[in-house]
């Protein structure tokens, strides 16, 4: 109840505020709102997407300077200034994103400092932008004959913009593309194997966060009526990041809470510090830096999770019945048709030949087991099929199509779904959402449709499909519980459900029975048999001999990167080379 009352109560306070608060407090609220927009972008970028930027203030600056120049020097209207600001900012963000988002590790955040400084130096030295003096006399935004300048009118403009942005972002995170954004954290391999173009998604998040900063810059220019380059330096950029992390970078509310706390604390410090010492401007920066470090050391998740613990726990949402119509399915090949053909594939890692001229074929509606001692090259071959690795030689065909050099993402679109030897789930996302990620390629809705809530029908279908798959593998007891709370063996089963949600032709499983108890193994074997009965083709890498031999139609045995035997389980068991490979002894 309390949880559900929070949002309306907050909105009520925001609406009532201009009628009761002092003008000074309204001005503070305006600063909070403008900062919260930038922090909101950082929540998407850092807390949700796992990227970070110290240079958001530069985007604020690009927008503010663009609209200031347009309205003061060119005599344009603030509304066209807004368009110009958004266009220029997204152009800059796209170029910077293209340059840096492919590079891993430290290079993106560090280059954000560099471009932040570069843009700051440019602003400070361009005569047309007033150099270090900035631009003053910027006209306010007008709506008809109403001037939306500082005070309550500015408050309305700022908080309506912020409210709209929060609504759009919350919708986005709850959509198909939003799930893809949330899956970015923790490595790209899983997302790519589901057909998610992680580079495109990162670029999109980056540009969205820049656009939110641009909105803030546009508002700053027209509400303050003055822009100064010092507001766009790396220091303020740091402050925005502090706001997002202090409030809780993983939560949209964190942006608002953090912006409010930092702005109010700065205001209080500016009153307090001059009493303690002169030259207090610098002390303020030092105090903030030390506070920031303390937050990073003690409460990295920010305040929202701490506060959420004080509230009564969320009531479990009842499992909705499956009512939506079904997602369209791809046609399956006729039983017995060739699905996968690997011929003479070779993969070297330096001097080590991991796969040495291996060949195999897999037919529709067949379970093929890939077995062999440790280090035989099974997992490498597996990764070659899925596109996680690229072979040095040889040919891999899927449904008659050459997929040898295709990346994992393209292979996923053709109808191969996989599981991982080391389980790759998003532990903080719900079990249902993890499976919905698997159906990513079966949806069509884009970022804008998600943000505007035009995707509900498709979302219902994806959700229903995911629930269906959860039920099929027997994990539908608590679909909204975090995936990370499942024991490891069941996490593997959840990966199978995710693979099934993709509606694949071929499903490739890497040691799915590892860590399962006996009864669970039987259940898994039954599930795989029923999938086979539906015409699905399955490639299985497995160590558990009993499990494999009781299940597969044929097995392929590898040793030292080469295929040494192939055939139905009975022949494999009798093969002397296989016995030698597994048990040792004279060849």
């Amino acid at each position: 109840m309390i949880r559900r009352a929070l949002l309306p109560a907050g909105l009520l306070v925001l609406v009532a505020l201009p009628f009761v608060a002092t003008p000074y407090f309204i001005t503070l609220m305006n600063y909070i709102g403008m900062a919260a927009l930038v922090a909101l972008g950082l929540v998407l970028l850092t807390g949700v997407g796992g990227l970070t930027s110290f240079g958001q203030a530069a985007f604020v600056g690009i927008a503010a300077c663009a609209t200031a120049w347009w309205t003061t020097r060119m005599g344009g209207s603030p509304w066209t200034g807004l368009l110009l600001a958004l266009a220029l900012t997204s152009l800059a963000a796209t170029i910077l994103g293209l340059a840096t988002l492919r590079l891993g590790g430290h290079l993106l955040p560090l280059s954000t400092i560099a471009w932040g400084l570069a843009i700051f130096f440019v602003f400070g030295n361009l005569a047309v932008l007033g150099q270090h003096d900035g631009i003053s006399g910027i006209p306010p935004v007008t709506l008809g004959s109403i001037e939306l300048k500082s005070g309550p009118a500015g408050y309305a403009l700022i908080w309506l913009t912020l409210g709209l942005s929060v609504w759009l972002c919350a919708n986005l995170l709850d959509s198909r593309q939003g799930r893809a954004i949330r899956s970015l954290r923790g490595g790209a391999a899983m997302a790519e194997s589901l057909g998610i173009d992680t580079f495109r998604i990162r670029l999109a998040v980056f540009v969205i966060s820049a656009l939110l900063a641009a909105l803030s810059g546009w508002l700053t220019a027209h509400v303050q009526r003055y822009v100064s380059p010092t507001a766009f330096d790396v220091g303020p950029g740091m402050e925005y990041l502090f706001m997002a992390i202090l409030g809780g970078a993983g939560h949209i509310g964190g942006a608002l809470l953090g912006a409010a706390l930092v702005t109010l604390a700065k205001d209080a410090l500016q009153d307090l510090l001059p009493h303690l010492m002169k030259d207090s401007g610098q002390l303020e920066a030092v105090v903030f830096a030390l506070l920031f470090i303390a937050v990073l050391q003690r409460a990295r998740g920010g305040l929202i999770p701490v506060l959420a613990r004080l509230l009564p726990p969320r009531a479990p949402t009842p499992t909705q019945p499956i009512t939506a119509d079904i997602l369209s399915r791809r046609p399956q090949p006729a039983a017995g048709a060739e699905v996968l053909a690997i011929s003479a594939v070779e993969k070297r890692f330096g001097g080590l030949v991991a796969v040495n001229g291996a060949s195999l074929t897999l037919h529709a509606g067949e379970i093929l087991g890939l077995i062999g001692p440790n280090g035989a090259g099974k997992s490498t071959l597996f990764n070659l099929v899925c596109g996680a690795l690229r072979p040095d030689r040889g040919l891999i065909r899927f449904l008659g199509r050459d997929i040898t050099v295709l990346p994992a993402r393209r292979i996923a679109t053709l109808g191969i779904a996989r599981s991982f030897q080391h389980v790759k789930l998003r532990p903080t996302m719900s079990r249902l959402e993890n499976v919905m990620l698997g159906a990513h390629l079966r949806g069509r809705m884009g970022l804008l449709a998600g943000a505007l809530r035009l995707d509900r029908a498709e979302e219902r279908r994806i959700r229903a499909e995911a629930l269906r798959q959860l039920r099929r593998v027997g994990l539908d007891a608590a679909p909204d519980a975090p995936a990370g709370t499942l024991p490891l063996g069941q996490q593997r089963i959840l990966e199978v459900a995710r693979a099934l949600a993709a509606d694949p032709v071929l499903i490739v499983l890497d040691e799915p029975a590892a860590g399962l108890r006996r009864a669970e193994k039987h259940a898994l074997a039954d599930l795989l048999r029923s999938l086979r009965a539906e015409g699905l083709s399955i490639l299985l890498v497995e160590h558990d001999m009993e499990f494999v031999m009781s299940l597969v139609d044929r097995a392929v045995v590898m040793e030292f990167g080469a295929v040494i035997a192939e055939g139905p389980p009975s022949t494999i068991r009798a093969n002397p080379r296989v016995q030698a490979a597994y048990l040792g002894g004279a060849p």
Binding site: T46, L98, A188, Q282, F288, G301
Partner: protein, 346 residues
């Protein structure tokens, strides 16, 4: 542009480059060993130079306040932390040891120092800063994702340079040249200090290479950077390795500050921009090896010198903007990305 002018600019660029080489080497070495981009490195360089200048002017360097503050915080962390240490030992390591040079500087301020003692004092006073910063800022979250470590490093810069403004004031300072004179080679004049800087860079590169390749402590440091858990399993204490790495960083920063100070006036906030430019140079070099980083830093010096000739107000913007095409080039050259390690929630 005439040939003579270009030559002059190139010479000027070499002088700039010599500065960046030293700093780039420091940053790259710390990065290769700890995977921490030690952003405050440049600030410590500025501290070193300002300390030396203050000592030479007979003034008490503000650095004593930074060391004092850090030592007290580190001591509190040590005795109040989850693993309660024995207090006398903590006091010895974290209070007495770092405060030794502070006391020496305090007593010797204003005394006419014999030759070379000002350099010794400067190095002694700067040395504790790295390990103390590590203890206070990084060690409590040593297992955090690299992204968090990087944010801490950047925030730390704001704290350290803010304190620098409070203790040194906004004025810059320039210590005396270590070597005067210079070499005249075919009409080009190479100042002695610049040659000293380049020679020191080469010597530092060599020494560090020997340290990391030939000594057990150096190898332990590299092992820790590659895999903390694995290093711990074979008996390396990651905390110790971190301390050593930051001690090395401090030493490099002290040497850089002493060498750079006499050729360019450093202000309390100069370190950050110098550090970033050196880092851009290191990225040109690919961030993989010291010699390549040095070449990249020299290139940055040239770029700065030539762009200053066309528009002196824009030279900083040009140096940072050049990062973009470099990164695009590196993106294009990069092979298939390896999967990043799974990271926990921020």
């Amino acid at each position: 542009m005439t040939g003579d002018l270009a030559l002059l600019l190139a010479q000027d660029g070499l002088a700039n480059g010599a500065i960046y080489v030293l700093v780039a080497l420091g940053i790259v070495q710390v990065f290769l060993v700890t995977r921490v981009i030690f952003v405050p490195f440049g600030d410590i360089v500025a501290y070193a130079s300002l300390t030396l200048a203050a000592l030479q002017a007979g003034k008490r360097p503000g650095t004593v306040w930074l060391v004092l503050l850090l030592a007290v915080i580190a001591f509190i962390f040590e005795i109040a932390g989850p693993a309660r240490r024995n207090i006398p030992r903590a006091a010895l390591t974290w209070l007495a040891l770092p405060l030794l040079p502070v006391a020496a500087v305090w007593l010797l301020t204003g005394v006419k120092l014999p030759l070379g003692l000002d350099y010794t004092l400067t190095i002694a006073l700067i040395l504790p800063i790295g390990p103390l910063l590590y203890r206070v800022a990084f060690r409590p979250i040593a297992d955090a994702p690299v992204l968090v470590l990087l944010i801490v490093a950047v925030v730390l810069h704001f704290a350290v340079s803010g304190i620098a403004l409070m203790v040194f004031g906004p004025e810059g300072a320039r210590p005396a040249l270590i070597v005067g004179g210079g070499l005249d080679v075919g009409g080009l004049y190479f100042p002695g200090q610049m040659l000293l800087m380049l020679a020191s860079s080469a010597a530092v590169t060599l020494l560090l290479a020997l340290f990391f390749d030939r000594t057990l402590a150096g190898k332990a440091l590299r092992a820790t950077a590659i895999n903390r858990v694995g290093a711990r399993l074979v008996g390396i204490r990651p905390g110790h390795a971190g301390l050593i790495a930051f001690l090395v960083a401090s030493a490099l920063a002290a040497i850089s500050g002493i060498l750079i100070g006499p050729v360019t006036t450093l202000f309390y906030d100069s370190g950050f921009v110098i550090g970033l430019k050196a880092f851009v140079g290191a990225i040109i070099g690919g961030l993989v090896s010291a010699p390549l980083a040095a070449l990249g830093a020299l290139a940055i010096g040239q770029l700065e010198s030539f762009s200053a000739f066309y528009d002196s107000t824009m030279k900083d913007a040009v140096v940072f903007a050049v990062l973009i095409p470099i990164l695009i080039l590196r993106s294009l050259l990069q092979r298939a990305p390896e999967d990043e390690p799974e990271e926990e929630e921020l």
